[in-house]
Amino acid sequence: MKVLYFAWLRERLNRGEETVSPPAEVTTVADLMDWMASADEGFALAFEKRDLIKVALDSEIVDHDASLDGAETVAFFPPMTGG
């Protein structure tokens, strides 16, 4: 599963993308965030304020309780400030 990071998340994690292989019991976005945070202190800090983290699955913005089933790309990013 490909994971993308944008803006201050990208800077804080010091990478823009990577590939992860979560275990079978990781079925939702929230599960994935828990699993990443438990494995790496950098994630634990970056994901500390969960409400501030937006998520897209295969270029579709989703809630944290969305199922990862079939998703090839997960993107994590802060609230958007375009325009």
Partner: protein, 151 residues
């Protein structure tokens, strides 16, 4: 297609874009162009702005808002141009153009697309000031602005 979304690093010419948009207006009576500029004020001086974006999602989200606007307000065409990368105060960042039979539809269409784009299109602004660089925080007022479009 009645919707065109262009994401680009290069500057664009606001007036030339408006004139190009106005070449196909048959049967239409009203066009609105919104242009967003890099803002720097004496109280909050900005040396440059750098926009990061998520290309696939940005294209898709803006096309979605523009298509919703076309249906909802009965517009003929919408063009959205949004830049990414580094830009200087006064430079255009974004332009939304809406063409309709009547004026209120054109105003509402451009306004609707801008309101949704602000909070739901994946762009992030980083400001450079004399004290360093910082990510611009999302504004509650931008979330509130969308409320006016609830039916």
């Amino acid at each position: 297609m009645a919707v065109t979304v262009r994401l680009q690093a290069e500057p664009f010419d606001p007036g030339a874009e408006t004139n190009a948009f106005l070449t196909d207006t048959e049967g239409m009576g009203a066009a609105v162009t919104f242009t967003g500029l890099v803002r720097s004020t004496p109280g909050d001086p900005v040396q440059s702005l750098t926009l990061e974006h998520y290309p696939d999602l940005a294209q898709k989200q803006i096309e979605r808002f523009a298509e919703q606007a076309i249906k909802r307000f009965e517009l003929r065409n919408i063009i959205v141009i949004h830049r990414f990368g580094r830009m200087l105060p006064g430079e255009p960042i974004v332009q939304v153009m809406a063409l309709a039979a009547h004026r209120q539809a054109a105003f509402d269409g451009a306004n609707f697309v801008m309101d949704w784009l602000k909070t739901d299109a994946p762009f992030w602004k980083k400001e450079e000031t004399s004290e360093g660089q910082n990510w611009v925080e999302a504004r509650a007022a931008d979330d509130a602005a969308k409320e006016k479009w609830r039916k």
